[in-house]
Symmetry: C2
Subunit: 327 residues, 2 copies
């Protein structure tokens, strides 16, 4: 295992310390590193909290800040955070208007966020994100997995929360953006969890895992590596078959961590062509490493069907470590 | 070779097409893909042009836009663009106030930008960037290599150009920011140029290349992989020995393309500690993949000694595909 670390036991804490130090104008550390929160809260606003296993950076802590999350709870690598982390985060950011949990659909995460919601003193609602069309159930999930669509939900719900929407409206919006979003991923290499010290899975020099999850979970099939155009076509077909987009979409080409920007933009071009054949047009685009799997090579494509409300939410000002525009 | 491509001959063109399509609100393609330019120019402003071999994305095209470059000329992977690319870019963005070339110190780039400067009809000045302290001469350079400090020069000179500075002032500022900036890199793996189809160099499972260049060129020494704290200490010592920073600095932790954010932030934390021991404080920070080497794992550390003018330039609004704040 080749990593820039000091030891497997301190990876998360040193990485979090660096993250909070590098972005101290935006975020602050919660007690005992249980959560990362906004340095300054917006009084009266519904608190938005997400979290999950680490190793997907910048998700989630990189999206804490104006226009997105109020707090993020980092679990150990590929491991759900604990209910007490979510409870303390909720206590820290609840301004009296309630808290919305944004939770990726994995059994551990869903169970722990549910426990935290039951134990919380304030009002809590939850939106579950399950945008991955690759498989119906998986290693860590009952039902579809939550993957890169999560950051789109966080962005659009975040904008509405900033504009003063109440808890019920935000939950409804989160559910709607989730239902409007579908993703699929492909891996060319495995990823290596520091504590395990070896790749999550073996994959041949001429193979790819089509429909891979963001923890290196198996996807639909292990097949020979194909040209990018064929990969994009298969992923777009799977996503469009399920989403049935009617016109304008947001297209996210998300790198898993080890794939260069040059290839991600090439995949964007091939995805765009596959969409054009179907009369679907990306009116908003994002290309980069946003919902990653440590050092896995590969990418996912996410489509969100957009309307005026979703576009306004996407375009609204945001000021977080990993996403910033309009301010 | 495992890459998301259709063929080695179309990597650059498809990637550029995707890039321009994804960011059509900011950039436009020059004729025959010779350069990428701002979609809208700012009349009367000095034109800033950079360029170099592809494979370092988002450098340079990702920094075209308000507050940074007016145009970028992409060469083939790890190959200088040609003088006619630079000439056509200069013609396209020269608003009568002259053009400043920002050139990384590699023999091919310097020679071609020089030829273009001689052939240009308008007034041209050039700032050479040579921030890499690792080696005095290298595979592709006479004198120090230009690496991640390039984006800092582009940002600060870009802000001054936007504010109306003239060509001579901008060249002087570019030279000064370059002289205030020093970098050093480390590689854990090689990178693979698509047309070559195999890694640039061989490296053992327990080795790292200390002082590596951004084309996989050899650095200072091939040594056993060490803890992140030792790596950061050696890099910070090399940079500080040369730069001799007196107080406040800008600290850039730059990923080479295949190293996850988690490790980059951990390196930030270790670099910050190494600086603290020396009484040096990062008052501005940037962590991410900005000046990459295709799929190489590793990172570089860049320090820029800051003063009021440099800080103002850094903080000024910027709106490019890869760097955006304040607007």
């Amino acid at each position: 295992m080749k990593k820039l670390i000091n030891g497997v036991d301190t990876v998360l804490q040193e990485s979090l310390d660096g993250f909070v130090a590098a972005h101290s104008d935006i975020v602050a550390m919660g007690q005992d590193r249980k959560f990362v929160r906004r340095a300054a809260l917006n009084p009266g606003k519904v608190g938005l909290i997400s979290g999950g296993g680490s190793g997907h950076e910048p998700l989630h802590a990189g999206f804490v800040g104006f226009g997105m999350l109020d707090a993020a709870c980092p679990g150990e690598v590929f491991t759900s955070p604990t209910p007490d982390q979510m409870l303390e985060a909720a206590d820290a950011v609840d301004q009296g208007a309630g808290v919305l949990f944004l939770v990726k659909n994995y059994e551990g995460d869903v169970m722990n966020f549910e426990m935290a919601a039951e134990m919380a003193s304030g009002t809590v609602a939850t939106t579950i994100i399950n945008d991955d069309v690759a498989v119906e159930t998986s290693t860590f999930s009952t039902g579809r997995r939550g993957v890169a669509g999560t950051m789109i939900v966080e962005k659009i719900v975040g904008a509405a929360a900033e504009a003063g929407a109440d808890l019920a409206s935000l939950k409804a919006l989160g559910d709607r953006v989730n239902e409007s979003s579908r993703s699929m991923g492909v891996a060319l290499t495995s990823c290596t969890v520091p504590a395990a010290g070896k790749p999550m899975f073996e994959i041949g020099e001429d193979e790819m895992e089509m429909g891979v999850g963001i923890h290196g979970e198996p996807g639909r099939r292990r097949v020979a590596l194909k040209p990018a155009a064929d990969i994009a076509e298969e992923m777009i077909e799977a996503v469009c078959h399920d989403l049935n987009p009617k016109g304008d979409v947001l297209l996210l080409v998300n790198g898993f961590g080890a794939t260069p920007a040059m290839e991600l933009y090439l995949m964007y071009e091939n995805a765009r062509r596959a969409l054009a054949k179907r009369g679907v047009k990306p009116v908003r685009s994002l290309v980069g490493n946003y919902v990653t799997s440590l050092d896995m090579a590969g990418c996912s494509l996410t489509l969100t069907s957009v309307d005026q409300e979703i576009l306004q939410g996407w375009d609204a000002p945001v000021h977080t470590p990993a996403l910033r525009w309009g301010m």
